[in-house]
């Protein structure tokens, strides 16, 4: 491929129109039917839109905000904005007006392309504070008939105006299009901002195109792939998969009918390349398990024996390792009766490459999908890297690593354990925030991830253990990575949350929250009566089960030469569920460590002073804002800690 002229998204669009003009570029289900647009049709739509932007007076370097769910029109808007030299800024569509106002104000957006009345209302709500916002363009006019249209324009009208004035505006459009280079800004994406205000990450054409090219080669993506675009457009992953890679490879992006029909649409499209957060794969398994529990005896047997075989030989067959002829034959049968239908159920029949990322994924969960023959892999990335930092190559897939450095990426681990990277995808800067840019990216281009990890010597894979700020040391100097241990604990269905303590102490201890659904289900089946969460959490049999889980985790930690010190020696099951209303968790259900430590200081004290029970009283906030308190006496148990096995293995 002659990449000399492929310097921008419009250039890639032109190449796709030339080379595969009749090949589908977008699909969207509307009115119950999949509509499609070929690359030629897409080109015409984008051009009409870009001419409309020119007619509106969009100037080079201005920012065009895009707020809506995944629809072809919004992807076209991003490319059209770039075509006239403007910068597209996709925004999370479920943001409240305040959050949208912050982003619009920060980037000084002059134009916004939004989906419907809901989004228009948000912009109107904050309009007074945003003198720079000139025109809001909406896609769906439902309910907007009575609105003041002095600053509103419909998407269709904009395109129509563009088409009409083609004669006068065409020359200006080609001038602007030709002015684009690899250094032009391709897109600006706001980080979700869990710590502080969102930051605008500026990514150049070079970042996006180089990353798309090398990651496309890594997984041998071609123009025949199809993907379902359903993750937020403001997220960097969607931009890389549904814009970068789609334009580089020329494959088809399919958009669901609505957010609620995603699962049905997934089954209809059967994508060949798929990304989903671990939660998606978890939910699918829960669905399957619940349905199988209601199934007849024969089906249960078929499922049970099929899955036993799959667990044993499925991943090996997927990795092309040798398996006995008999097993291979049985797997073929299982594929016909069990695995095929299950893949179809999940909408993953045609998947050739699937990725998951974002959180730790349980080994059982991971093994389940791989044993069904789905090539599920992990990657590690962030907005500042144009997604890819590391990813797992085919046949080198494990639950506990995030893979080898992606093509073109260099990795280094700092003294503190923090992971640094440098790559062609490394962002240009944070918009209007040189201070943060300087503190994140050094002069040589190395970027700090904020994550602590290490590279496994035997395989060369990166393993992420925790956020750097949470990693500490035990008093004996051993590494303390609470999240790593908590994740291992949370993989058990009975454990909803875990909080591990130990920084600066002689040993690790843990608070546990049981999962009321899973444990309650178990109690029901075993005729154990309970009146509340508190009562069930204090049941001796429940404590036995949790203890067994913890000891299992301890045993697996003991084989880890870096983290064997993090074994949990004592634990208690909390008398209340950690709750965002009480400030113990964030709204996205992440534990706030320091608040928990402060609030339950008496319990932590008891975990370390050797007592076998502790009485406590805790204030709780009810959903309607009233306050009350819970009194409880909690049993503290010791868990077996295993000797370090890694040393023996080394001998």
């Amino acid at each position: 491929m002659a990449s000399a002229e492929l310097v921008s998204l419009p250039a890639l669009l032109a190449r796709n129109m030339r080379d595969s003009g009749s090949h589908p570029a977008y699909r969207e289900k509307e009115y119950g039917i999949w509509q499609s647009w070929s690359w030629n049709e897409t080109g015409a739509e984008i051009e009409a839109l870009a001419l409309g932007f020119l007619d509106l007076g969009v100037a080079p370097g201005e920012h065009v905000a895009i707020v809506g769910r995944n629809r072809p029109h919004f992807y076209w808007s991003m490319v059209a904005a770039q075509m006239v030299g403007a910068v597209p800024v996709p925004i999370y569509q479920d943001s409240v007006a305040e959050e949208i106002a912050y982003v619009l104000d920060h980037c000084g957006a002059a134009y916004a392309v939004v989906e419907d009345q809901e989004q228009v209302d948000k912009t109107i709500e904050v309009k007074d504070r945003l003198p720079g916002l000139k025109v809001v363009i909406y896609l769906d006019g439902k309910g907007l008939r009575k609105y003041d249209h002095s600053h509103l324009k419909s998407f269709a009208d904009l395109q129509a105006a563009g088409r009409e004035k083609r004669g006068t505006l065409e020359a200006e459009l080609s001038r602007r299009r030709d002015a684009l280079t690899l250094d032009s800004t391709c897109v600006m994406l706001y980080t979700s901002g869990t710590t502080g205000r969102p930051k605008g990450v500026v990514l150049s054409n070079n970042n996006i195109i180089e990353t798309s090219k090398s990651s496309g080669q890594f997984d041998v993506l071609s123009k025949d792939e199809s993907i379902l675009a359903y993750l937020p457009m403001a997220w960097v992953g969607d931009f890389i998969f549904a814009v970068g890679q789609a334009y580089w490879c020329g494959f088809c992006v399919c958009c669901p009918e609505s957010a609620t029909t995603m699962h049905d649409n997934l089954r209809e499209i059967g994508p060949s390349y798929f990304f989903a957060p671990p939660r998606f794969f978890e939910e699918q398994i829960t669905q399957i398990t619940i349905r199988m529990e209601d199934a007849g005896r024969f089906k249960k047997w078929l499922y049970g024996s099929g899955m036993r075989l799959a667990r044993r030989v499925g991943p090996k067959i997927l990795d092309g390792e040798s398996v006995s002829g008999m097993d291979r034959l049985k797997y073929k049968l299982g594929n016909f009766f069990v695995y095929g239908p299950l893949r179809n159920r999940a909408g993953l029949s045609n998947v050739r490459v699937a990725y998951t990322a974002g959180e730790a994924i349980g080994p059982e969960l991971f093994a389940f999908w791989r044993s069904l023959g789905i090539n599920l892999k992990q990657l590690y990335g962030q907005t500042e890297a144009s997604v890819f930092i590391t990813q797992q190559p085919d046949n080198e897939v494990r639950a506990d690593t995030v893979g080898v450095p992606s093509p073109g990426v260099e990795l280094k681990i700092a003294e503190s354990g923090e992971v640094f990277y440098r790559s062609p995808g490394t962002f240009v800067k944070y918009y209007k925030n040189d201070e943060s840019t300087a503190s994140t990216k050094d002069a040589e281009g190395w970027v700090a991830t904020g994550d602590a990890g290490f590279i496994e010597e035997s395989s060369g894979h990166l393993r992420i253990i925790d956020r750097v700020k949470d990693v500490g040391k035990l008093s004996n100097g051993a590494l303390f990575a609470p999240k790593y241990v908590e994740n291992k604990l949370k993989f058990f269905a009975n454990i909803l949350e875990a909080v591990v303590h130990g920084d600066g102490r002689e040993a690790c201890t843990a608070f546990i929250n049981i999962d009321l659904t899973a444990v309650g289900n178990w109690a029901e089946r075993n005729n154990i009566a309970y009146g509340s969460y508190q009562e069930l959490a204090g049941h001796p049999q429940v404590l036995d089960t949790i203890q067994a889980h913890i000891e299992e985790v301890n045993e697996s930690l003991s084989t880890d030469d870096m983290l064997s010190g993090c074994q949990v020696s004592r634990f208690l099951v909390l008398h209340k569920e950690l709750d965002a209303d009480d400030g113990e968790m964030t709204r996205t259900r992440k534990v706030r460590r320091n608040i928990v430590a402060e609030k339950f200081a008496d319990l932590i004290g008891a975990l370390y002073d050797g007592s076998d029970r502790v009485s406590t009283e805790t204030e709780v906030t009810y959903e309607d804002g009233r306050k009350g308190s819970i009194k409880a006496t909690l049993e503290i148990r010791d868990a077996t800690v295993f000797a370090i096995k890694a040393l023996e293995a080394a001998e």
Partner: protein, 272 residues
């Protein structure tokens, strides 16, 4: 408290047309029980008209008179400038009047899509045999009707339950499907019998939005019965208040709110 005659403009600037339906001195009896006693009011084209009143006031009976389900013993119903003879509900439906029910009346075993398609019945011209063979005009007709139905599904945002049997849906969604079926008839006048009964706040907000959007988007005239006063006062342009089969108030929400007879009926004054 006479109803306003002729065209008028609402507080939010909508142009309301002339009289579409006029009820003149309606009296409805069931044996010796008088359900409606000498009531007159009108419904203008394009407006949202509410009928309110305490339990047993005769609201649903009134709606049933409009929909042709009951024929009043006395009085006249005028629709589009013509006096309406006593007729069957399906004749009324053909005149462009559709309704939803207080107790949901959908086909539980059929899918949402099929339920809404039944709303297109008055628009189908081909016979049963032709439809069964599904050739030529029957096929074209079905495709056209399906398109109308799909637009309504999109309008009410129920794509995700298109193929789900109605019996499996929660209450709030069933109400929405019922509205969809009524809209599928492309009615000139839409009758809603307690569209928000039994709904939570969020569902009520959604339903209110759909009612307003229907009026706005398709210009449909809407007559509704509702108990939730907040909803009625926010949605409707004009309100008829009934108590014990009689009309005790008629006017804009503000006029009705300040009407002593209405206040008494709602706060409960001893009836002699």
């Amino acid at each position: 408290m006479n109803s306003m005659a002729g065209n008028y403009t609402t507080s939010d600037g909508r142009e309301i047309g002339g009289v579409m339906m006029e009820m003149k001195n309606i009296t409805l009896r069931f044996g010796g029980v008088v359900a409606i006693k000498d009531i007159s009011f009108d419904i203008h084209e394009g407006e949202i008209r509410a009928i309110i009143g305490p339990n047993g006031a005769g609201k649903s009976s009134m709606l049933n008179v409009i929909s042709g389900f009951y024929n009043p013993q006395e009085g006249e119903v005028w629709f589009n400038g013509k006096k309406r003879p006593s007729m069957k509900p399906y004749h009324v439906a053909r005149q462009g009047i559709a309704r939803t029910f207080q107790n949901i009346a959908l086909f539980e075993g059929m899918s949402v899509l099929d339920n809404i398609m039944t709303g297109r019945l008055t628009h189908m011209k081909t016979g049963m045999l032709a439809q069964a063979l599904w050739r030529g005009p029957a096929e074209r007709e079905e495709v056209q009707n399906r398109e109308v139905v799909e637009k309504i599904i999109d309008f009410l945002e129920i794509q995700h339950i298109r193929k789900t049997p109605v019996g499996r849906l929660p209450y709030g969604l069933k109400k929405r499907v019922e509205l969809a079926r009524a809209l599928a008839a492309e009615p000139k006048l839409l009758l809603l019998d307690e569209p928000m009964a039994g709904m939570n706040v969020e569902e009520k907000e959604d339903m209110s939005r759909y009612i307003l959007d229907t009026n706005d988007e398709f210009g449909t005239t809407i007559a509704l019965i509702e108990h939730d006063m907040g909803v009625v006062m926010d949605l409707s342009d004009r309100v008829v208040v009934m108590d014990y089969g009689q009309k005790i108030g008629d006017g804009t929400p503000d006029q009705v709110r300040n009407n002593q007879a209405v206040i008494d009926a709602y706060l409960g004054v001893a009836h002699d």
